[in-house]
Amino acid sequence: MTTNNALTDLAEIRSIMERSTKFLSLSAASAILAGVYAIAGAVYVSGILEKGDPEPRQFLLVAGVVFLLALCTTTWLSYRKAKKAGQKLMNRAAIRLLVNFAIPLAAGGIFVLFLYIRRFSSLIAASTLLFYGMALLNAGNFTFSDIRTLGLSEIALGLLAAALPGQGLLFWTLGFGALHIIYGGVMYRKYEKQ
């Protein structure tokens, strides 16, 4: 064996180890909690709707709060899971997961903001589900593959929401509430239950 061979071998090993490492600290329980927050948010919004004359800004505010709560919960529970396994939360796999998740999601967030400004409110629910689904589909390559299936389900639901306008709250509750609880439960049983 020549030294050149040894060098290429080591480079190859390093690259394959990095490329094939998936982020496995993602906590399934946080998906269930995210679903619970989403349903609580939906219940609150339907309360506003019943009083009549809703202000769209309030919906966006509730959605934002739900999203932030879910993000914090996921980070915290994943941090605990990583710590328990004796690993760091942030590593290359985590960064790759975050970047691939954040790009479609950020694009979707900006797009939805334009929909809101231009008063295409009927497409907002469908768009959030579609972009979130695409973000999950993309991120699923770098963590449990179940995330890809969850992404596909969100996309299907988003298309359905686009076909049936006026049912935004229902689809939000299904997509961000029910689907998260179902997938979180399935993943918890599959990977975390001892």
Binding site: M1, E12, R19, S20
Partner: protein, 105 residues
């Protein structure tokens, strides 16, 4: 004296086997398709290398069904981990020794 060269394991000389072992060092288990994607190899080529590594008892093969589709999962054995770590140190030693002295071709 070059006896560190003896630690270079013949079983890991091909690029595909090196790839299989590297990936299994950092993953609990991987299936056939994951390797195909990761290493960019054909079915036949991959199968012959996994068979060889299995024969050395460096990897474990587990066959199951997902629905009706057969699924083959590979994982590393303790022997495999040890052998691969030894191979890695041998590669490093080789490079270190050369860096400090003569270049061999």
């Amino acid at each position: 004296m070059k006896d560190y060269l003896q630690d270079l394991n013949k079983a890991f000389e091909s690029r595909v086997r090196l790839g299989i072992m590297s990936a299994l060092m950092v993953n609990e288990a991987l299936d056939f398709n994951a390797f195909k994607e990761l290493l960019d190899v054909t079915d036949g080529n991959l199968a012959s290398h996994t068979r060889a590594l299995e024969a050395e008892k460096y990897i474990r093969v587990e066959k199951s069904f997902i629905g009706r589709k057969p699924n083959t999962k590979f994982s590393i054995t303790p022997e495999g981990r040890e052998a691969f770590e030894l191979h890695l140190s041998a590669l490093e030693t080789l490079l270190k020794n050369v860096g400090g002295g003569e270049v061999e071709r």
